[in-house]
């Protein structure tokens, strides 16, 4: 498609040339066509999931070589996945904000505020765990409405609004938790999200179900598209994608099902509850973004707000809504973090939390300039960030180096994004 520059187009318009039209919808119907189209896209600056997948592979090999005894163990891999959960969930919400070309610098500390609400409700009252969870999520929704209102309705740049709130919400967390304090989270259900596992059989059943469901959806879509003569990919590509998903899902389940207990007397095996929760969030948000009118309008506002406005889309409503989704996901991320750490401190969600999440979204392929990104980017990028954090922890590098490396990785991802965008503009993509 990148060859579609002016001369080609001109020659296509000569009388007698390309009489049928839409021939691309059919030529893409071969494996070669799909591969060529993909290579063209990559050359044209749309790298998609490539950097994240490369990052996972390269970093995985690097840390395996540097720490052969500890990195690739089932225990560490499980830790790594659970570490990735709060980052990934936060990044999923940020994908929506970034799609509009906006930024939410306060997302990390919002997760802290919501976690503090959760911890205090659990500590001060005797309500069941789900009431505390709802309170935390409601806090996230309200914060999102507030932020979104300031950006979308008042019209303050999101950078400034969320920078101010970044400070403000830290004050709120401090007030809720108390100076130097720590509120423990001892609720068994909340703690269990990150620290308990599904029974082995249930874990396997769920993994198989996910693969079958994915396969059924993909094959059904392919069948319908072909039956109605719509643009569709060749069957072999669809099957290859299903096979890839099957290998990854079943492989991860297999690793998580190995007994990873350090002592021989206890059994520790199975999929932590946090993993299927992330999977559900991934499915729901992917559906929202890819298959509903709302999602389409989010992309449209991110791509060309003026075009969206003229098409009758309520741009303000979309703008407010992405901040609500961002803060709601931040609340869930805060709950996940509190579950993993078993406590909430005034520093929860501060520090490099936001940097990690923005890094995850951008490394995964979401553009900082708006208009391009998917929810799965947060998962892939979240894994890369978690591998870096986990690996550097295993290497025991000094704190200053940790900051430098993590900051450098985000900068690298943002540079790739900016260069890809320039390349896209140059090649007409």
């Amino acid at each position: 498609m990148s060859s579609n520059t002016l001369p080609t187009t001109t020659s296509e318009q000569e009388p007698g040339g390309a009489a049928s039209g839409f021939e691309g919808d059919r030529t893409a119907d071969s494996v070669g066509g799909v591969v060529r189209a993909y290579l063209d896209r990559v050359r044209g600056g749309d790298l998609g999931a490539l950097p994240a997948v490369l990052g996972i592979v390269v970093l995985g090999i690097l840390f395996t070589i540097l720490r052969p005894d500890t990195f690739l163990t089932p225990l560490n891999l499980t830790n790594l996945l659970v570490q990735a959960v709060p980052i990934t969930v936060l990044a999923m919400g940020l994908v929506f904000v970034l799609l509009l070309g906006e930024i939410d610098l306060s997302a990390g500390v919002v997760s802290g505020v919501c976690a503090a609400v959760l911890a205090q409700v659990l500590a001060e009252t005797s309500v069941p765990w789900w009431v505390a969870v709802l309170a935390a999520i409601a806090t996230g929704v309200l914060i999102g409405v507030f932020t979104g209102g300031l950006v979308g309705i008042v019209g303050i740049p999101s950078f400034v609004v969320t920078l101010a709130l970044f400070l403000g919400w830290q004050g709120v967390t401090l007030k809720l938790i108390g100076q130097g304090g720590t509120v423990p989270v001892r609720d068994p259900v909340i703690n269990g999200i990150s620290n308990k596992t599904l029974p082995l059989a249930l874990g396997w059943a769920l993994a198989v179900l996910v693969v079958l469901l994915y396969a059924a959806l993909q094959l059904n879509r392919w069948r319908r598209q072909r039956a109605r003569d719509l643009a569709h990919q060749p069957l072999i590509i669809v099957v290859a994608r299903i096979a890839l998903i099957a290998v990854v899902v079943l492989g991860v389940t297999a690793v998580l099902s190995i007994d990873r207990a350090l002592s021989a007397v206890v059994d520790l095996a199975g999929v932590p509850y946090a993993i299927p929760i992330v999977l559900v969030l991934l499915l729901v948000l992917t559906f929202l973004l890819g298959r509903t009118g709302y999602g389409r309008h989010v992309y449209a506002v991110g791509g060309n707000a003026e075009a969206a406005r003229r098409a009758g889309i309520d741009v303000t409503r979309i703008r407010v809504s992405v901040f609500v989704i961002g803060s709601t996901m931040a609340a869930i991320s805060g709950i996940m973090a509190a579950s993993r750490l078993g406590s909430v401190t005034p520093g929860s969600g501060a520090g490099n939390t936001l940097l990690y999440a923005v890094g995850a979204a951008v490394i995964g392929g979401t553009s900082l300039f708006g208009g391009r990104g998917r929810v799965r980017d947060a998962v892939l990028g979240g894994l890369v960030v978690a591998i870096i954090a986990n690996g550097l922890g295993l290497l025991g590098v000094e704190a200053y180096l940790n900051f430098l490396i993590t900051g450098g990785v985000l900068l690298l991802a943002a540079s790739v994004d900016a260069l890809a965008r320039r390349r896209a503009a140059a090649t007409g993509h």
Binding site: M1, S2, N4, T5, L6, T9, T10, E12, Q13, A18, A19, S20, G21, F22, E23, G24, D25, T27, A28, G44, R224, Q225, R228, L230, A231, R291, T292, G293, R296, H297, Y299, A300, G302, G303, N304, E306, A307, A308, R310, A311, G312, I313, G371, R372, A424, G428, H429
Partner: protein
């Protein structure tokens, strides 16, 4: 809403203009931009709207599109008086405008752009299949043969292809009147050819078309009627066969040409 006796041949659709303006006036503050504008636009015909910069073309089409209100004057749509109170009202009547800056989202594909804001749904799920088919049908009806795929991102299209998509988007909605704001302004020779052919086909398919252009070659190639604006007044609204190129240029630059155009006193007062 009775049908006014607009023409002696009432009832025969060819004689009732799709859109007729009578005595339309519009001021921005103390500056009067449109003076007693009267024009007729017929279905199946391309009406070229010409005039120098500042003659009031943009204000006029924005009034028709319902974006600006007018101070006085009548709009008759298919013979019936209408109030173009807003863009939604205009769109509801079947008036679609393709603006010069096209208003396409680069990050969406052709189908997604054509249905933007008016997506078809099954419940809450987008009905991609039906939208893709409808988009293809519309493009085929307009004999658009230059798109490789309707699932191509608009970012990867050439200027002419973008114009094509924007026009097809306007036509998708059973529009009766399509207003094209300088559709060939930024295009090369081959792409201009392609868009002019498309403009012709729009009219041949029964749409009424208002075609705004500064290019007299394009105007004489594609238009059936010409409406020349001079300082907010209609200098001429005539079949194109009644004028030649130099007359049109005189109408645009001086407001009159021979026995056509606005009265000299008015024209001079305006200068």
């Amino acid at each position: 809403m009775s049908v006014p006796p607009a023409s002696p041949h009432d009832g025969s659709p060819a004689d009732v203009p799709t859109l007729e303006l009578r005595g339309v006036n519009k001021s921005f503050g103390v500056i009067q931009v449109l003076h007693d504008v009267a024009m007729k636009v017929y279905s199946g015909k391309v009406t070229a709207l010409v005039g120098d910069n500042g003659a009031g073309k943009s204000t006029l089409i924005k009034s028709i599109a319902g974006i600006h209100g007018t101070d006085s004057g009548e709009f008759l749509f298919e013979g019936r008086p209408v109030q173009l109170g807003g863009p939604r009202v205009a769109a509801g009547l079947g008036i679609e405008v393709v603006y010069q800056d096209l208003a396409l989202a680069d990050n969406l594909d052709v189908v997604q752009n054509m249905f933007l804001g008016r997506e078809r749904k099954n419940g809450i799920v987008l009905d991609e299949a039906s939208m893709e088919q409808a988009a293809k049908e519309t493009l085929t009806r307009l004999s658009v043969r230059t798109l490789k795929s309707v699932r191509q991102l608009v970012a990867s299209l050439s200027g002419g292809q973008r114009q094509t998509v924007a026009i097809a988007k306007a036509v998708l909605w059973e529009s009766k009147l399509v207003i094209l704001d300088e559709p060939t302004a930024a295009l090369g020779v081959a792409q201009t050819r392609q868009v002019l052919d498309l403009v012709r086909r729009l009219a041949d398919n029964g749409h009424a078309v208002i075609f705004i252009s500064h290019n007299m070659v394009d105007v004489f190639e594609v238009a059936d009627r010409i409406c020349a604006l001079y300082l907010g007044r209609v200098a001429a609204d005539v079949p194109i066969s009644e004028v030649d190129r130099s007359q049109v240029i005189e109408l645009i630059t001086a407001g009159r040409s021979g026995n056509l155009g606005i009265a000299p006193a008015v024209a001079d007062a305006g200068v």
